[in-house]
Symmetry: C2
Subunit: 438 residues, 2 copies
């Protein structure tokens, strides 16, 4: 690239896999980029553009010549264009659509009309549909012509005269079949399909569970309108795992490493401040027991222990439930079974911790006597039992009530459990105050 | 199933997708299962068996007649058998291998010889390899014969006389090609392949990034020995996300909902107890400042606030790093950039929280005066700055030093940050003790 020998560069570069082309482009300094726009045809550059992240795409579009950009968009796949246009300002998006060929632009507009994170928004319209009356050899001929354009040729969807989905034939079955066999005899009529408004996570789960390479997307009247392919679904699985993680840590979109310190702080601070106010509530709980504390200062020493243990067990239960909800592993055993299981685990963990503490504390803090150890032990037992229930029930409730999943995040659950744990601890300590040595 | 009409059942059941067959089988009460073994041929039942989880497979094998089981294993895919045998007792595994056909058993033994979670352990040997000198029509004939057995027919791997991988042809390219074209002219020589010892997470990432349906597995001398398909990889992505989650919450394998309360408690208790001992260290920190506390009891009230804020910001930073490491999104920007970013975010979050607290505390706790608010504010600022660094640096260090990732879990980071936060807080308070109103 440095010696600017165009032909050598092109020969080498176009041999690369598109994914590697994208990576090379991303690693370049900005001032080298115009060379790409000059050397590559809009069609060749479209491949790279599709692989960039939205923020990079925005930058690149600004650098592109208008005619070049229009031609590039005409060579991109409709679903990738829709994704990009959904992220930029509306007037700008309209300009781009107007510059595109009408047929292609209409497809993009259709895709953009589906709700975010739905099967409709995820799907591509470049699929191959065939008729049940076709023969295997006719379909093969059709494939030879249409194959290069389609997103996948490995599943061929069979539609009737009204474009309704009636079956599916895999290319594998087609290859193995006799040439004069009709599709009707080859196709499977048990087609796993999704509706356009189906959530992308459900689509991903379906494709994963049934080991599919693609799933057809249909309207409510079973008309075939697109397909979702396995590679899109892999991105969804990763996105959803990141989302779960964000929710879990209340980091809300801040796990994106491509943003600045300032925007990360802006996104995270509402949560941190909100949680800090929860901390003030916890402070209030301790404040209520100030008199007890004044009498026996050593009680303050165990505040972190109660808080940590409550937080940790609650978070574990939460993790179990969040993952189970995400992977759908409930369906077989039932929710109640899992919640009961968690409660049982909580009782056992509480018991073990209580026993350990009642043995250790008299050695570490002999001034507190057996009573202090007893108070801490019983508090831990009750706290852990409650904490597992909170950790298990809250995410399920959130899921059922369709509330913001961030309420089921680690920090929230931990704060609730902190408050309950300290209430239990100080209530018991206050009740037994007269028995404590001072 | 209830009226035991075998033919009606079989007709209906065998029409179902294997995934649905498995689900139906799983939902049945145990006493109904023998009916399946009676009605279905070993080959038909093999499909169901492959879809079960290991624990269920173990139960089922116990219920099966020996001849039936042997026949079933002969009809299963080698990689599924290897997965199952790897989980049961060795003598029992040997019995099963001895009862199987030799060729199939050898394949299983080979697969079992690769390290866990490697490409070798994940791959299947049912792939299709062709020669560069074959013509398109010869390959199509070959596919018609071998197609039904192979795991995928959509990528055809081209090998030389020594079985070395030299290229790949997609079925799509083959279909579009002229019948007398040789594979040499059709194939791509830029094959993305993995070695047998490559970690499964890397294989998954490769298949995902390059939008592949399968990746060839080769020896160090580039000999083709198997393929990993996209459906196996989707399971890996999910497994790894769950692993990250487990590590993050120190729940270590306890997110599995199919275990009993007792085994969940057994798996989780070491962590909870270890973390409880960390809690005792935190208690020790407070204990060191007992005299300060005795003078100004109200200081105890802010212990939870300091702990929660330190924990929450640290956990957010940790989440950013864990996800970035998992998705490889560092590669472009560099690690140091992200750590600096986190530190910047920490300073800003600390500043905001400090300002809020210094305004709010004088109203809530007027008895502490401005000095108390100042102590808490400055402590929060310092604590949050430190907490983000700890949260960002620890997982990276763990990754570099190849330590147990559980050290980078939320609870550990939180505990470390708690201790640092309380040290900062009580040190400042002790230094300013004389200026505090009492």
């Amino acid at each position: 690239l440095k010696n600017k020998d165009k032909n050598v560069f092109l020969e080498y570069f176009l041999e690369l896999h598109p994914t590697d082309q994208v990576e090379l482009f991303q690693q370049l300094y900005k001032d080298k980029r115009p060379m790409f726009y000059e050397y590559l045809t809009p069609e060749q550059f479209a491949e790279i553009f599709q692989g960039l992240e939205v923020e990079e795409q925005k930058e690149v579009v600004k650098e592109l010549d208008k005619t070049y950009a229009a031609s590039m968009f005409n060579h991109m796949q409709a679903d990738d264009i829709a994704d990009f246009l959904g992220e930029i300002h509306e007037p700008h998006a309209k300009d781009i659509l107007n510059a595109m060929e009408k047929e292609e632009a209409d497809e993009v507009i259709e895709l953009m009309s589906y709700p975010e994170e739905s099967a409709g928004a995820l799907m591509t319209k470049e699929f191959i549909s065939i008729k049940a009356t076709d023969t295997a050899s006719e379909v093969m001929d059709h494939l030879r012509k249409k194959g290069p354009e389609a997103e996948t040729v490995y599943y061929l969807y069979v539609v009737d005269a009204k474009d309704k989905l009636v079956g599916v034939v895999s290319l594998r079955d087609l290859i193995v079949a006799q040439l004069n066999e009709t599709i009707e005899n080859l196709m499977s009529t048990q087609v796993v399909s999704v509706e356009s408004h189906t959530d992308q996570e459900e689509v991903a789960r379906l494709i994963k569970d049934y080991d599919l390479l693609a799933a057809p997307v249909v309207t409510s009247t079973n008309e075939l309108i697109g397909i979702v392919t396995v590679d899109d679904v892999m991105d969804v699985l990763e996105e959803e795992a990141t989302e779960d993680f964000d929710d879990f840590t209340a980091a809300k979109g801040a796990t994106d490493v491509n943003i600045t310190s300032f925007s990360a702080a802006k996104r995270r601070s509402p949560w941190i401040i909100m949680l800090m106010f929860f901390g003030l509530i916890t402070a209030g709980v301790i404040g209520t027991f100030e008199e007890t504390l004044e009498e026996i200062v050593i009680l303050a020493v165990f505040i972190p222990l109660i808080m940590d243990s409550a937080g940790n067990t609650g978070t574990q239960s939460l993790a179990v439930m969040v993952r189970s909800l995400a992977t759908g592993s409930f369906e077989r055993r039932g929710l109640l079974h899992t919640i009961k299981r968690e409660f049982g685990t909580g009782l056992m963990l509480g018991l073990i911790c209580a026993v350990v503490l009642m043995i250790v504390i008299p050695f570490l803090y002999p001034e507190g006597g057996v009573i202090l150890a007893g108070i801490v032990g019983v508090s831990i037992f009750l706290t852990l039992s409650v904490a597992t229930i909170i950790g298990a029930v809250v995410p399920v409730a959130i899921n059922k009530l369709k509330l913001d999943p961030a309420i089921a995040s680690g920090p929230f659950i931990t704060t609730v459990n902190d408050i309950l744990g300290l209430l239990i601890y100080f209530s018991i300590a206050t009740a037994l105050l007269d028995y404590l040595p001072r």
